[in-house]
């Protein structure tokens, strides 16, 4: 009787493994098809923008983790407190992107893991960017984290305001 239960469990687990492998392959194929379709559309419908602008991306993987979420929350809070005016004026844009789905952006900024990317745009075109990888080291030091991110934003935002 005990052997039978073990046998049944083994079969169930094997079935789960096989279904999972099949599901993973199916998901992968679909994702590739979607990505191939989307990159054509994205390049065709890029609206032209005027003036300087700082775009702050929060890049994250499809799987979110505790530290990732706190990095996102800390950055959003910093922007809303220290850069509220710029955000209101449209000079600063905050975007959240899944880099595993958006292969184009991931390649452009050579994203290795969840991180903040600060991009300086002029007339809708990218002039410069900074990838903030050290957010991982500063995630548990809020003050240093804020200084680090704010410095990167100010480097571009300041330049835009002078002109």
């Amino acid at each position: 009787m005990k052997i039978d239960a073990k046998k049944l469990l083994a079969k169930l687990l094997l079935a789960f493994v096989l279904i999972s492998i099949g599901f993973a392959i199916g998901k992968e194929v679909t994702l590739r098809r979607v990505q191939a379709g989307r990159s054509d559309v994205a390049s065709a419908t890029q609206p032209a923008e005027q003036g300087d602008k700082v775009v702050i991306y929060y890049m994250h993987a499809t799987i979110r983790c505790v530290t990732c979420n706190s990095i996102e929350a800390m950055t959003a809070k910093l922007i809303d407190s220290a850069f509220a005016d710029a955000k209101q004026a449209g000079k600063l844009v905050w975007k959240e992107v899944d880099f595993q789905e958006n292969e184009d952006l991931a390649k452009r900024y050579d994203v290795v893991s969840s991180c903040i990317v600060v991009v300086h745009q002029r007339d809708g075109k990218q002039v410069a960017f900074q990838r903030l990888d050290d957010v991982w080291l500063l995630a548990d030091k809020p003050q240093q984290f804020n200084e680090y991110v704010a410095k990167a934003i100010l480097a571009y935002l300041g330049g835009g305001q002078q002109q």
Partner: protein, 234 residues
């Protein structure tokens, strides 16, 4: 290379290992390494072999990025994204199968034997190849935190110091240290309880069973999280 760089590499390793996101694989590793209750030398040997597997993985990935294969022209982002996308898909089913091997569940249900009994016995005993392989697999299954710290902090540090071997090695050992420490804790606790009740061998058998169950549970967790996209964490 300075002591500062060495210290940073160890710290990055420990930080990688104690962050919550590789928790499930670490628990599996702790039980795998610590399951030789009553045999300190084997626990230590398993711990060293587990660390070795991690070190090999980190050196290999580092070599690919830091220029050993320049003609491949791979950026750290390419490699990191590839590993995060595919190894994590493999991880869940692999852990379930290893757990089934540990519980000697394969072969019973298979009329055509996929894994011979020899393989099962060796996996159960924790042969050299298995423990090192486990460290290797777990090191390659990057989660956001480990990817951020390894690709974003350790590899730039290695590049700055021209150290493709020493710093990744130290980092790899650092990621294994908490696992080894907890494995010892479990092995000693098991032995203590076993001696108190005069049943060390029984406890060992029990811990071995629990290890298999933990592997299967961790495997199901990773499958749900990475393959089915079920959000299991806040």
């Amino acid at each position: 290379m300075t002591w500062y760089a060495v210290g940073t590499a160890v710290w990055l390793g420990v930080l990688t290992s104690i962050s919550p996101c590789p928790l499930a694989s670490n628990i599996a590793a702790i039980s795998f390494v610590g399951r030789h209750v009553g045999n300190h030398r084997r626990v230590l040997l398993s711990g060293v072999l587990y660390a070795l597997g991690r070190v090999i993985a980190y050196i290999a990935v580092g070599a690919i990025i830091l220029g050993a294969f320049e003609w491949l022209a791979l950026s750290s982002g390419d490699v990191s994204r590839f590993l995060q996308r595919y190894i994590n898909l493999v991880l869940g089913p692999a852990l379930i199968l290893i757990g089934m091997l540990l519980l000697e569940m394969l072969g019973i249900s298979f009329s055509v034997c996929l894994a011979g009994e020899g393989v099962q016995r060796k996996a159960g005993q924790g042969g050299v190849f298995w423990t090192t392989g486990l460290g290797f697999l777990f090191a390659l299954s990057f989660c956001p935190v480990s990817a951020g710290l390894y690709f974003g902090a350790l590899l730039p540090l290695s590049a700055r110091h021209g150290s493709q071997l020493v710093l990744p090695t130290i980092y790899g050992v650092g990621t294994a240290l908490p696992v080894i420490a907890f494995a010892f804790l479990i092995a000693f606790a098991g032995e203590y309880v076993g001696k108190a009740f005069n049943r060390v061998s029984q406890i060992e058998k029990w811990v071995r069973g629990v290890t298999g169950v933990i592997f299967i549970l961790a495997g199901i967790y990773y499958s749900l999280a990475h393959i089915y996209g079920v959000s299991l964490m806040g």
